[in-house]
């Protein structure tokens, strides 16, 4: 069997992962530095109230994760015929369910608990 022609006829078997560029890496790096510096400054300088600070630093962490995914991990919808992207979406769904579900269930458990003497110490 002719290996050459069968490979050529198979467009989804491309040459490994997409290649990064110097511009891409530097863009990602600069964005990461900014998105890391702002949360640290917010927490160190107490520039905003606790709730505002918490929301801001969580938002910037999410943006930074996307920046790393795009510029460093080269995630896009085309690599491997879109299968890496699909696997990532599936994983994000599972992560969101696991973390938000755990927090939700345990929060309800906590507020429905009878207050007990020595609760402060026993919580460990």
């Amino acid at each position: 069997m002719d290996v050459e022609s069968s490979h050529a006829a198979d467009p989804h078997h491309e040459d490994f992962a997409p290649h990064g560029t110097l511009k891409g890496y530097l863009t990602g790096f600069v964005l990461s530095v900014i998105l890391t510096a702002i949360p640290f400054l917010l927490v160190m300088t107490h520039a905003a109230g606790p709730a505002t600070t918490a929301v801001l630093i969580l938002a910037m962490a999410l943006i930074q994760i996307v920046v790393h995914m795009v510029y460093f991990l080269h995630l896009n919808t085309r690599t491997e015929g879109g299968w890496t992207f699909l696997a990532t979406i599936f994983t994000i769904v599972l992560v969101v369910i696991a973390i938000s579900g755990s927090i939700w269930v345990m929060y309800n458990l906590d507020i429905n608990m009878m207050p007990m003497p020595g609760n402060e110490i026993g919580q460990g």
Binding site: H19, L73, T79
Partner: protein, 209 residues
């Protein structure tokens, strides 16, 4: 209708003209699936920290044990190591072996600095009596951050192994594939660290649940 009627050897039960898969063609997707499953491990550890991270058992609180200066230094180490690994990959794409090895060495040094600072932090906390057995907050903290640190350590060992392979065999196709897998692994660890420094350290210092 039998196989013989179709003009084929009756002993062949598979598709005879299955096309050939070049060696390593599925490695990148397979490794990405591994990264995703590792993400799930960290998701569980983040979930347990989110649930247990405010149970201090009368012991030390985040503001008592965390040092933001040390954290900033550690975060910088990992961020620098990400860009230097990127430079190693760019050198690899241009078939320049010596710069590739050089940037890999710089990346490994940044990684070692990260692990060293983390071990320094851990040993300081344990010496102060803020070890993993002190409270649920510290148990979940050491499990989550320690698992990440263990990953970085393994990544460094892997990097040194690959540097030896590249030095011996050059930038052959197999070594390029391995370097790309380690690239995913290394950048993935930086992504997890974003979650760690935000959720564990910064949110802990803010004190808002």
């Amino acid at each position: 209708m039998t196989a013989t009627d179709m003009g084929q050897d009756p002993d062949i039960f598979y598709v005879a003209d299955e096309h050939d898969h070049p060696e390593g063609a599925s490695t990148m997707l397979g490794f990405w699936i591994y990264i995703m499953s590792d993400t799930l491990i960290f998701a569980m550890l983040f979930a347990s920290f989110a649930v247990l991270g405010r149970n201090y058992a009368g012991g030390p609180r985040p503001e008592d044990v965390f040092e933001l200066g040390l954290l900033a230094l550690n975060t910088a180490m990992l961020l620098f190591s990400s860009i230097t690994y990127g430079f190693a990959m760019l050198a690899m794409q241009e078939d320049r072996q010596t710069p590739t090895l050089g940037w890999l060495a710089v990346t490994a040094l940044f990684g070692m600095a990260f692990v060293g600072i983390e071990l320094h932090e851990f040993s300081g906390m344990i010496a102060e009596g803020a070890g993993p057995e002190r409270s649920a907050f510290l148990s979940s903290f050491f499990t989550l951050v320690g698992t990440h640190g263990l990953h970085v350590t393994i990544g460094i060992l892997w990097m040194i192994t690959l540097m030896a392979q590249v030095a011996r065999k050059g930038l052959i196709a197999a070594n390029r594939r391995r370097l790309m897998c380690l690239s995913m692994f290394w950048h993935f660890l930086d992504v997890i660290w974003i979650g760690v420094f935000t959720v564990v350290y910064l949110l802990g210092m803010v004190g808002w649940t």
